[in-house]
Amino acid sequence: MIDFDKWQEIFSSMKRHKLRTFLTALSVWWGIFMLVLLLGMGKGLQNSVEHSFRDDAINSLWIYNGRTSKPYKGLPPGRYIQFTNDDYDLIKSQVPEVEHITGRYYLRGQFNIKYKNKSLSFDIRSVHPDHQVLENTIIIKGRFLNDTDIKEYRKVCAIGKIVAEDFFGEEEAIGKYLKIKGTDYKIVGVFRDEGHENEMRKIYLPVTTAQRVDSANGRLHQMMATIGDAGVNESMRIENKIKKLLSERHKFAIDDDQALYVRNGVERFQEFQMVFAFIKGFIWFVGIGSIIAGVIGVSNIMLIVIKDRTKEIGIRKAMGATPLSIIGMVMQEAVFLTSLAGYIGLITGFGLIYGMNYLMVENEMELEFFRNPEVDFMTVLTALIFLICCGALSGLIPAIQAVRINPVAAMKS
């Protein structure tokens, strides 16, 4: 049975002290509201970074060439380091830790890609079949490049979804021929990519075919390799092993970062995760802080309430109020107020986060560092329960004080 009288007492007590009640509720509301907002924003930040990682394989090493910056064994600095298919073969045969590897070659010059009377400009990458794994390329029609394409210098290509749409619209792309720098390439596959939209504006050619038509003599512009489920330390070891192999072959100092640069995806991802662990920790620190501030606010105000109500409590005690009924009266008010204000904070916080998300989706807003703000409901519910417990606790201390009040002294005041 709902104790109607008790609730009436609570409401009348709150009504009698409107400002006090409002301020208490405000501090609790603010605590929960800020926690929800912070969690949502943090998650939005994290989502956007995780999204950018979806583009590429995380366990990857990206190997770039450059110019030597240090003299080495009597050789002067400033020499250009040129990767070739031999480097690709070397890593493939000498570094068993490497799971997938691909070279990249970019066709020389400026040119458009033609189909019938359409002439459009797209990026072209000439790669090995393993490139599919490295870039997380997802085939939606046909196939990606394969080993036979490489071995037989086939004139085939895989094109991005947007390339296909721009050239053929609704028509079937597979089997048609694109003219690239005067050579016809048969389309064997269409792909999409989870990463940036630009990844679907690419055309992939077999690296050997491109090198031959360009008379590139087996030159490569960069290489990429995946290294299985190696951890950070293991990835660094493999990175050094590759650096050593290439530095010996091309005769440059192993610590010459200008001659050879390796981007380690594992290390980078780990760094990001650490940054987010830190941000998350910070958010909780601030959030818990604001909740505690709210609870202290409630407790303080309840203490003042008791001071104010000393006489009333004294009279009630003289009339036969048991200690339990006094504790109940004070605590029920504290818990009710904290829960209600906390609940409203929860609703407004959620409302703001989801409103923001809705607006971003509706307006197709793509922010570099913000994406899909969301809040884990359970997390916040836990916070709310924590808050209510704190509310009870913050009511308990003043309640015990209320029970200790000497009715005689109280009524004289």
Partner: protein, 233 residues
């Protein structure tokens, strides 16, 4: 009804021990109308608080209607005894100023867990008996001092206590109103309820049937009045 044996009570103030009650022996029968007199500092308020189970005593023995009231009493039991045995009337009325006269009278019944309707019905009866039926919905600050004290008396009677303890009930009232209030106590007493009035005014105490004079923590005089006056003099 009330049996006190060698009740002693002292307060520790700083390094000095202040003995307020130095051994009180008192016997009050059911249905008596007693006034406790004494100058300030004589311990009369302390005695009343002990009788009302609002304060503890140090040594001695206190029986209320045969029930031994001692230190081992839990706060809850004390509250229940207060609620069932004792009605309080105070000098400063001590009404809850945010509640109406009717709600104030009904308060002791609330702590007896009597339901709302019944509470209001009973409270209205008692308010009627003190002549304030028409003032039931008024807040205390809309009532005169005498009316407030009558509300307080109605409140002290509503739970049908065995004794009513009144601490300087006329202290804040003019003499005409004081006599009206005392007349009301007389009527209450006529119903068989034991009434104890603490006062320092002689003409008030003369309206009771027995005067106990406290003197420096002990009982100095115990006078039985054969013909207690009941009206205004």
């Amino acid at each position: 009804m009330i049996e006190l044996k060698n009740i002693q009570k002292s307060y520790q103030t700083g390094y000095t021990k202040l003995e307020v009650l130095k051994g009180i022996d008192l016997h009050i029968e059911k249905g008596e109308f007693v006034s406790i007199m004494g100058s300030s500092g004589s311990g009369k308020s302390t005695l009343l608080n002990i009788l009302g189970i609002l304060d503890e005593y140090d040594t001695g023995e206190y029986r209320l209607d045969g029930t031994f009231i001692n230190k081992q009493l839990t706060q809850k039991q004390a509250a229940i005894y207060r609620n069932q045995f004792i009605g309080f009337v105070f000098q400063s009325f001590n009404l809850l100023n945010f509640k109406t006269a009717l709600e104030n009278v009904a308060l002791p019944l609330y702590y007896q867990k009597i339901d709302r309707k019944q509470r209001q019905k009973v409270a209205m009866e008692y308010l009627d008996r003190v002549g304030l039926r028409d003032w039931a919905d008024h807040l205390p600050n809309q009532l005169s001092g005498g009316q407030q004290q009558r509300v307080a008396i109605a409140r002290s009677m509503v739970a049908r206590p065995k004794i009513i303890l009144a601490d300087e009930p006329t202290g804040a009232l003019d003499s005409k109103t004081s006599f009206e209030v005392m007349k009301l106590f007389k009527e209450v007493n006529d119903e068989g309820i034991t009434v104890l009035v603490v006062t320092h005014e002689n003409d008030i105490s003369k309206m009771t049937k027995r005067i106990i004079r406290l003197n420096d923590g002990i009982i100095g005089e115990n006078i039985l009045l054969e013909n207690a006056s009941t009206g205004a003099s």
